[in-house]
Amino acid sequence: MDFILNEEQAILKGSVARFSADLRAAMDKKAVTAADRWGRYADMGLLGLPFDEDFGGFGGGGVETMIVAEEMGRHLLTDPYIPVVAVAGRLLADHCSEEQKAYLLPRVADGSLIVVPAFGEPKSRYSLSRVATTAVPSKDGFVLDGRKAVVLSGAEADLLLVTARLSGEAGDEDGIGVFLVSGDLPGVTRRPVLTVDGREAAEIVLDGVRVDKTATLGNLGQGGAIARRAEEFGVAALAGEAVGAMSAVFDMTVEYLQTRRQFGVPIGKFQALQHRVVDMRVALELARSIAAGAAIAADLDNAQERRRIISAAKVQVCRSGRYIGQQAIQLHGAMGMTDEYGAGRYFKRLLVLSSLYGDADHHLERFVSASQYGEGGALVA
């Protein structure tokens, strides 16, 4: 393993750090609209990250995505970078036809088209194959019926990447298609809802929505696998975002212990609190390392190894994030419970990230299956 950033990656990290800090400052002054913000990402070239240069991108992989996501987490940026770029962008880059690429990728890269994944359903929990939404072939395309749940930025997106079942039963691996669905098509109803970390999501109803037959992506019927691969990129990216958030709330807590005085001394003088900070730091370092491992693994061709490490990262990041977030609030005392103080905002972001794209239990199960425990328990490499 090599955890050292190369020169280009180090430069990217520096410029994204400045970009994110500036954007945060502008948001705090309420000086930017959502459209302005998204324009800034486009101007920085960040929206085309996974695309080839021909399509307005720079051919970034897992590590580049992690670098961006980590800074976004550190500064609590609210824009849907991971859904649009890490998941939908990756899926489009890998599965568009040449015609689709020529139309879609430059528009995603320049920010004029916002595409988000809409894989989850009210009853699917974290499974990507438990798809009850149906796609029935019609004369010139398909008719979609069903519901999609907790779609981040689903109400403002121009296009939704919808998984829908062509054949088989909910839960079957095969028989799922991925469809490009314009948000303003007749039969699409989007109910906006705020998220616990102050962002936007939507519950979406598809009622007899007619899409053209050119609106399918990749091999028809393989949509479960296509969505899963894209979501793996998303998991690796959000591990980076979570590390950024953990790192910021850790620093904030350290500063508080250095400055808050009780009993005539900074409270960081108390050993009970000191040891808690150490355990937070240990949790942070573990999360940081395995998130980097997942970012590197996200580009591996070996599917089993890739899944194993990415799911391991999600489990560790959930555990570390929960511990660090909870302790940050505890060590801030009542201040930690106030809405105006930052610790709580990080805590809420970490709550969202722990559930998004599968929680710790879900990924522990996936880790076990990728490690082949049942078959004699594959030994550690």
Partner: protein, 397 residues
């Protein structure tokens, strides 16, 4: 960032692995793998092989017989030693060796270093005392100058394998009238000195590796003083802070986790392999994930710190590495169900031999290994002390 080590490092790893496979005695490997106790002969055979290969003192400067490896090579070497179930290198080589090279007299270097490289000279560590554990600077063993020798009185404790040792490196108080840290000197003491006696301490695992020694007017030649009188504390800090690339014990943890998975696959619960029982399986998986995260952390911190001295990261790695290994040993104590209860100290030492095992033969050492594992968060600076050190560096208070 890349997923693999360089091809060069993989070649190096293969070379280390092949060497261990070829040169480590199968009996020793078996004893280590089964968690049985080692005899001096196990160590000696292995150290001779390492010496012949030129690999016994990788951490020493090259001109004194070091290998000149990078930090990553040393990490890989230590991991392979642990994975290959070879005995660890002694305290003498890792601790007093570098101190003598840095601060010893020419005569001390000539007298001790070659013998240590050959694996012939064993050292006992003389730091802790019954009244001075974590608060080491309070140590009370006195050394009073009398002509050409110091006269030493007092006691040292928790000395691992002192019964094999020819020499001891000890911290003693030579100046009672200054700040505690400034009155300490380091000296080299012949274990056969008149007035020096050692007594073994039986531990909860049935082991007999720990000793306490008593000094009754033991005369130590002035020539055996290390460096300057009164500088012992700084030498001890140098020695304890000496680069420990493998302090997280990743190789050791991996070997024990593999043992756990192997045993969990051969044990059954309700007619199915235990490893398929979700509650047990998920606990193993959780440990495996933490181990993966810690392994990456060890390598990352090593790569980020290449060229710099050891930092407080070693405290972090020691805390997490020991706590994780203890959790693995705890699960190993659960894997055989009720067969954790029968216990025979002779079997722990020598195996069942021709006798009929009670329960699965691999059960015999699991209780002993679990009990023994409780020490790893205590020795080498208790984890609470490590947390104090790390807290100080984080908070600066």
């Amino acid at each position: 960032m890349k997923f693999a080590f360089s091809a060069e490092m993989e070649v190096f790893r293969d070379e280390v692995r092949a060497f261990i496979r070829e040169k480590l005695s199968p009996e020793t490997r078996c004893r280590v793998e089964e968690g049985r106790r080692l005899d001096k002969a196990d160590y000696v055979q292995w150290y001779r092989a390492l010496h012949a290969k030129g690999w016994i003192t990788p951490g020493w400067p090259k001109e004194h017989g070091g290998t000149g490896w990078t930090a990553l090579q040393r990490y890989i070497f230590e991991e392979e030693i642990a994975l290959g179930a070879a005995p660890p290198v002694t305290a003498g080589i890792n601790m007093i060796g570098p101190v003598l090279i840095a601060f010893g007299t020419e005569e001390q270097k000539r007298k001790y270093l070659p013998a240590m490289r050959q694996g012939d000279l064993w050292w006992a560590q003389g730091f802790s005392e019954p009244g001075s554990g974590s608060d080491l600077a309070s140590l009370a063993t006195r050394a009073v100058l009398d002509g050409d020798a110091y006269v030493v009185n007092g006691t040292k404790i928790w000395q691992t394998q002192a019964h094999y040792a020819e020499m001891m490196f000890a911290l003693v108080r030579t100046r009672p009238d200054v700040k505690p840290q400034e009155g300490i000197s380091m000296m080299l003491i012949d274990m056969k000195s008149p007035g020096l006696s050692i007594h073994h301490i039986k531990t909860i695992d049935g082991g007999q590796e720990l000793y306490q020694c008593f000094f009754d007017n033991v005369r130590v030649p002035v020539a055996n003083l290390v460096g300057e009188d009164g500088k012992g504390w700084s030498y001890a800090k140098f020695l304890l802070g000496f680069e420990r690339h493998g302090i997280a014990g990743i190789g050791l943890a991996k070997r024990q986790l593999n043992r756990l998975k192997r045993l969990a696959a051969s044990e059954t619960s309700d007619g199915r392999p235990l490893i398929e029982k979700p509650r047990f399986r998920d606990r193993i998986a959780t440990l495996e994930i933490e181990l993966l995260a810690l392994e990456y952390t060890s390598i990352r911190l090593l790569q980020e710190g290449e060229g710099k001295g050891p930092g407080v990261e070693s405290s972090l790695l020691k805390i997490k590495g020991t706590e994780l290994r203890q959790e693995i040993f705890e699960m190993l104590s659960e894997v055989v169900g009720p067969y954790i209860i029968p216990y025979d100290n002779d079997v722990v030492r020598s195996g069942w031999g021709q006798g009929e095992p009670v329960g699965p033969d691999y059960a015999a050492t699991l209780a002993s290994n679990y009990l023994d594992s409780r020490k790893i968060s205590i020795y080498g600076g208790a984890n609470e002390i490590q947390r104090n050190v790390l807290a100080k560096s984080i908070l600066g208070l």
